[in-house]
Amino acid sequence: MTDRLQPGTAVRVRAAFPPGHVRTPFFLRGKNGRIESLAGDFPNPEELAYGRPGLPRRALYRVVFRQSDLWPGYPGKTADTLVADIFEHWLDPVP
C-alpha cells in the first residue's frame, strides 16, 4: 500500500480510459480536487468484478471538487462542491 494521502492534499484524477469495471466516473477523469478524508480500505472493484479477490485492499478516498472546476460555465454558486469516492490508484498528487 502506498503512503496515505492526507486531508487537504491536492490531487488529480487520472485521465485514463481502461476497459472493464471502473468506479471512477468519466466526468471526473483529469479533474483536480482535494482529499477530504480516507474512507477506508476496500477490495479493488476492478478485480472483484471478474471473480478475482481484489487484494490487497486499496485505499478509498473521499475527494472534494469545486463544481466550477468540473463544468465550464457552471450555473450554480462558487461555493458549490461535489464529493466522490475515488480509489488511490486513480489519484496523483498535484505538485
Partner: protein, 199 residues
C-alpha cells in the same frame, strides 16, 4: 416521472432482466436456495420503508450523543435502535444553515436501501444521474427546493463502497414534539437531499 402503463403491461424482458431471471433459476436448480427463500428475500427488501431512516434522524435531533455516533458510523448508530443497516458502510451527511447535501449515483443506483427502501424511478434515471452533478440547483428547483444563494450545495456521488444518508436540519417550531412525532416529519426525499423539511 414514471409512466403508469409500464408497470401493468408485460413489455418483454431486456437483456439484464433476462440474465437476472436466468441466474435465479440456475441457483435454484443447483439447490443454493429455494424459490420460496428468494421470494421471501425480495419481499423483505420491498418492505423496507423510509420510516427506518426517519427514526435514526429523529433520534439524532433529540440526542446530541447519538448524533455524534451517527456521524461517525451510521450502521452502528442504527443498530442501537434495533435497525440492521447492513454490511455496507453508510455515512451521514449533516445539513447545516450554510451547506445542503444531496446524493446521487452517477454510475448506477447506489442508495441506502436498508434504511430508506428501494430507490424511486427518478433516482435511477439518466436524467437525474447526469443533471444532479452538473446543475444541482436546477434539479432541486424542479423538486420545489429553492435554496438561498448563500447556501452551498454539496453533491455526493456514491461511486464506490460507501452509501450516504442526508441528515436534514430539524425544522423550527418542533421543540415540544416527541421522537415519534419528529420521525413522522422526516421524508424520504429529505434524506436523499432533494427536499428540505418545511412543516
Amino acid at each position: 416521472m414514471s409512466h403508469p402503463h409500464d408497470d401493468i403491461e408485460d413489455s418483454g424482458y431486456d437483456d439484464y432482466q433476462l440474465m437476472a431471471e436466468a441466474i435465479g433459476e440456475i441457483l435454484i436448480d443447483k439447490g443454493l436456495f429455494r424459490a420460496a427463500e428468494l421470494r421471501r428475500t425480495v419481499e423483505a427488501i420491498d418492505a423496507i420503508t423510509p420510516a427506518l431512516g426517519a427514526r435514526v434522524v429523529a433520534r439524532a435531533w433529540i440526542d446530541a450523543g447519538f448524533r455524534e455516533r451517527m456521524l461517525a458510523d451510521v450502521n452502528a448508530a442504527a443498530r442501537e435502535l434495533g435497525i440492521d443497516a447492513g454490511p455496507i458502510p453508510i455515512r451521514a451527511l449533516a445539513n447545516t444553515p450554510g451547506v445542503h447535501n444531496m446524493i446521487v449515483c452517477t454510475l448506477c443506483s447506489c442508495y441506502p436501501r436498508l434504511l430508506i427502501g428501494l430507490p424511486p424511478d427518478w433516482y435511477k434515471s439518466r436524467a437525474y444521474r447526469s443533471r444532479a452533478v452538473a446543475d444541482p440547483r436546477a434539479v432541486l428547483a424542479e423538486f420545489g427546493t429553492v435554496l438561498p444563494d448563500d447556501v452551498a450545495i454539496r453533491v455526493h456521488d456514491s461511486t464506490a463502497d460507501l452509501r450516504y444518508l442526508v441528515l436534514p436540519m430539524r425544522p423550527p417550531r418542533t421543540d415540544g414534539m416527541d421522537e415519534a412525532a419528529l420521525a413522522a416529519l422526516v421524508t424520504r426525499d429529505s434524506m436523499v437531499g432533494v427536499a428540505v423539511i418545511d412543516r
